[in-house]
C-alpha cells in the first residue's frame, strides 16, 4: 500500500478559542468536588483494603525457642523464578539441618509466592503488607534475622489453622 500523507493545518493564532475545552474540564472538576464518589484514600490515615490474594514482602516463621523453622532444604531457591533467594545450609549444634545464610533480595523478587507454596515446613511466607520504604538499596536484601523479625501478617492464601490445606 502506498504511503499516504494527510496534511493537518495548524490553526492560525487568534482564530481559535480554548475557552470551551477549559470550561468543560472545570465542570468535571467541580462535579467531583460536590459529588465525592471517589476512589481516593486519605492515606496514611485511611488504609486500603488489600486483596485476599495479596503477596507482599516475606517473613520467616520461628519455633517457640526462637530458631527459624527453615530446614535449608533448598526448594525455595530451586523453585524461585527470579533467582532472588540465597541459601547456604549447615548443621547446628544439635545435628539439625538449618540455614547458615538465608537472604531474599526483595528487589529481584516478583512476589509470585511459589517459595511459600513449595516450603515443606511452612517456614517462609509472603506477607499481607506493602509499606517497605527504605533509604538505601542494600536494605532490600533481607537476611535471616530481618525475615524472622518481620511482624506483619502473612498472606490470606495460607491458613495457619490448616497449614497444609488439607
Amino acid at each position: 500500500m502506498a504511503v499516504q500523507v494527510k496534511v493537518v493545518r495548524r490553526p492560525e493564532p487568534g482564530s481559535t478559542s480554548y475557552l470551551r475545552a477549559a470550561l468543560k474540564g472545570m465542570a468535571l472538576t467541580f462535579k467531583h468536588l460536590v459529588n465525592p464518589t471517589s476512589v481516593t484514600l486519605k492515606y496514611p490515615e485511611e488504609q486500603p483494603e488489600l486483596s485476599p490474594r495479596w503477596r507482599g514482602t516475606h517473613r520467616m516463621e520461628v519455633h517457640a525457642d526462637g530458631r527459624p523453622k527453615c530446614v535449608a532444604c533448598g526448594l525455595c531457591p530451586t523453585v524461585c523464578p527470579a533467582n532472588c533467594i540465597r541459601l547456604v545450609g549447615g548443621e547446628d549444634d544439635q545435628g539439625n539441618r538449618y540455614p547458615i545464610v538465608y537472604e531474599i533480595d526483595e528487589f529481584r523478587c516478583i512476589f509470585c509466592g511459589m517459595c511459600q507454596e513449595v516450603c515443606p515446613v511452612e517456614a517462609i511466607h509472603v506477607g499481607r503488607h506493602f509499606e517497605n520504604g527504605e533509604y538505601t538499596r542494600e536494605r532490600f536484601v533481607y537476611d535471616l534475622d530481618r525475615l524472622m523479625e518481620q511482624d506483619h501478617p502473612t498472606t490470606l492464601l495460607w491458613d495457619p489453622s490448616d497449614p497444609r490445606s488439607e
Binding site: V71, A72, C73, G74, L75, G89, E91, N96, R97
Partner: protein, 535 residues
Amino acid sequence: MSDAKPSTVTLTIDGREVTVPRGTTLLKAAEALGTRVPHYCYHDGLSSPAMCRLCLVEVEGAPKPMPSCVTAAQDGQVVLTDEGRAREMREGVLEFYLVNHPLDCPICDQSGECKLQDYVHAEGRAHGRSREPKRVFGRDDFGGDVLFYGDRCVMCTRCVRFMNEVERDPRLTVVERGNRSVIDTFFDEGLDGTKWSGNIVDICPVGALVSKDFLFKQRAWDLDHTPSVCTGCSQGCNIALHTRDNLVQRVKPRTNLDVNAFWMCDHGRHDYEWMNQGERLEAPLAGRGSERIALGWQEALTRLAARLDEADGTSVRAVASPRSSNEDLAALRAMVDALGGGTIEFRLPMAADEDVLEGMPTLARRRELAPNHRGAELLGMKRVGDDSGAGGLDEAGAHEGILIVLGDALADQDTDFGAAADLFVMLGTHDAVAAANADFLLPISMHAEQEGTFTNRDGRIQRFWPGLQPPGAARPAWLILRALASHRGEATLPGTAAEAFAAVAEESGAFGDLDYPTVGTRGAVVPERAALAGD
C-alpha cells in the same frame, strides 16, 4: 551332550524379543532392551541376594513372581516387567518400604538422587495406608566419613556386602530380625581405619548412609557433574567432579570397568579441597623483585619471546610436574627442544605402601602420588628428588641459562632458586617464595579447569574435562607454551586440547596414533611400540 546347547537364548520381555548369552539374568536382559527394572539390593559389582523384592517380574508359566536379578533367562520365556501383576507387586513392596520411612526428604542429603524417591514418585501410592507409629532409630556415627540414618534404610545390605566381598573387611552386619532389623557395626569399632568405606555412601540407594564431609552442604540437584580423573595417585581412577558456585563440592567415582570399576579410595575422595584453593595467580607478571609488574598476555608473551631470542644458544633446563596434563608436558618438551634441547626433571612424592582393594586386586592407591608420572616418563623426563617429593633441584636452582618451571610449586625451595639464571620463566597456579627470581611468572589453570589427558601407571591415556572456570587470565599451560612458540614463528597454534594432543603425535609419537575420539570417556592404552620408543 549338554555342550550342544546354543550359547545364546532368545526370550520375550514386555512383548519385545531379545537374544542374550546363556546365563544372563532377566534384569540384564531387560537392560539390553533399555528397560530398567527397579532394584535396590542388586549392584553390578556385588553378589545378588534377591532380598529387596523390588525387581520381581511376572514370568509366564511360573507359579509366582520371580526376582529378575537372580533368575537366568531361558529360551522362549515370556516376561512382563511393567504390566499387571509386576506393577501391582512393586506398588505393594514400595508401600511396605514407606511403613517406617520418615519421609524426611527436605533434610536428607540423598534427596534428588534417591532411588526410593524416584521409584515411589514413579510407581508408588500417593498416600500410605499405615496408621501405626513408625519405629525410630535416630542417627549413628559409623566412623570414618560415614553417618548412618537407620530410619531411612531399606535393608538392601549393599553396604554389608561391599565390606564383606569387595573391601574384605567385614565391619558391618545386620542385627535383629523382621521390622526391627538394622545395619550395625561390631563393638562400636565402626569403620575407622578403613580405606575404601566411602564407597558404601555411593552404593546406598537411599539416604541411610551419608558422607559427613558433604553433610547438608549442597543439594544433589544443584550440582554439575564433570567427568574427570583422580589426581591422588597413578592409578587414574575415573571420577566425576560435582561442582557448584565454581567450587568442587565433592568427588564421586565414575564407572570404568578397565580401571576402577565402581569404586575409589577414601584418599582420592577427600583430596579435592586443593582445587578450591584461593589466592591464585590471575595475571602474567614480569620482572624480578620490586620491578615486577602485571601485564596482558599479548605484552607478556611479546616480551618473553624477545628475551628467549636474546638468550638463544644458552643451555636450557626445565622442571615439570607429574600433576600436569600430557598436553602441558608435551608443550614444554616441544619448547625445550625448540630452544636447543635440555634436561627436564620432575619430582614425585611416593607413599610407603600400596593400599590394595582386596576384592579387586587391580585397584589400589598406588605408591606414586601423582596422576601423570608415566606421561612425563614417556616424554623423556627424569625423576629427581626423594620420596617426600622434595629436594633434587640443586642443579636446576643454580642453572645459568634458560630455566623453565611448569606446575611444580617449589614449596621446599628458597629465594635463591633461579638467581643465577639468565632467564627464569615460571608457569604456576600460585606465587611462591622460590618464584622471587622469576623473570616471568605466568598464571596457568589446573586440571579441574582445563581439558586434557593423564597417562596412568599402566600407560592408559584418560581424558578429563573442565568443571571450573579458571581465575582471571589464567590459561592452560599448553596454550601459553604453544602460543609462545608460534609467537617466535616456529609453529602453528593449536586451538583446542585435542589439537594440542594431536601435535604430540607429529612431534615425538610418544602416545602412538591415539587421538581424543579414540580415547573417549573410558581411556585407551598407549600402543606398546610407542611406549618403548618413548622409554
